[in-house]
Symmetry: C2
Subunit: 143 residues, 2 copies
């Protein structure tokens, strides 16, 4: 519980359970010295790292290969004013090992868009944080 | 159109139109030298700046007041493999002018959670970018 914002913190296992429920997350990284954020579909590997599949020549790969990034997922119900968010923070790296690439290929993870030079990018789940808000019934509360 | 990732770019007016359609976005900023991302509900001011309402003593306010941040919204349909995302990049600042605070109070923007020392934070829409993906029919394409 964070006293200054009214949200409840989730533990790592709860975060990973929620992370597995949604198909899209957002990679947060630095591009030209500015914050950048890009939605992507993703999978979770057996070690709970986040796996993306994208073009080897994409801006994203050039920006994040070898860098520490954040990866966020969430799900909110605006009517209920409730929901959750999970953030994974860790090093991102293109999967270069052929055996590992082949293993990940068998998971069936595919990009939503059509690119030719596909690679897998792994984001290590070095730090996993999450929080829930349940604002139901708070409609009359200012702020 | 970005040739390396198959998405279509949106112009500023299209981005602002989409931004007005969703209640929740994500503030991207730096916290303890790491990327941080926090979902928040928001409103749009008449000058298209993004308005948040939160606690004056929150971690978020301490981290972003006076800093350049990104603010992202999106909406995706996983079945159709389609959707859009919009990112506003600009300086964030707590609204300190009493008349401006009063004006924004009349817009009815409220936080989803209950905090006492509410302030408005304005994120200037200095740079507005967006993109759409329509992956329908691409189910057989490997990334």
């Amino acid at each position: 519980m964070l006293p200054d914002d009214g949200f409840h913190a989730l533990d790592r296992q709860e975060c990973l359970r929620l992370l597995a429920k949604v198909p899209v997350g957002r990679v947060v990284y630095t591009r030209q010295a500015l914050h950048a954020i890009l939605p992507v579909n993703f999978g979770l590997d057996t070690d709970s790292s986040v796996i993306l599949r994208t073009s080897a020549s994409s801006h994203l790969v050039r920006a994040i290969d070898g860098a520490v990034v954040a990866f966020e997922t969430d799900d909110f119900d605006a009517e209920e004013r409730s929901g959750w968010s999970v953030v994974v923070t860790g090093r991102a790296a293109v999967v270069t090992d052929p055996a590992e690439h082949e293993r990940l290929s068998r998971t069936g993870l595919r990009s939503w868009v059509d690119v030719q030079d596909g690679v897998f990018v792994r984001i290590e789940s070095e730090m996993v944080t999450g929080r829930v808000v349940n604002g139901a019934g708070s409609a009359d509360r200012r702020i």
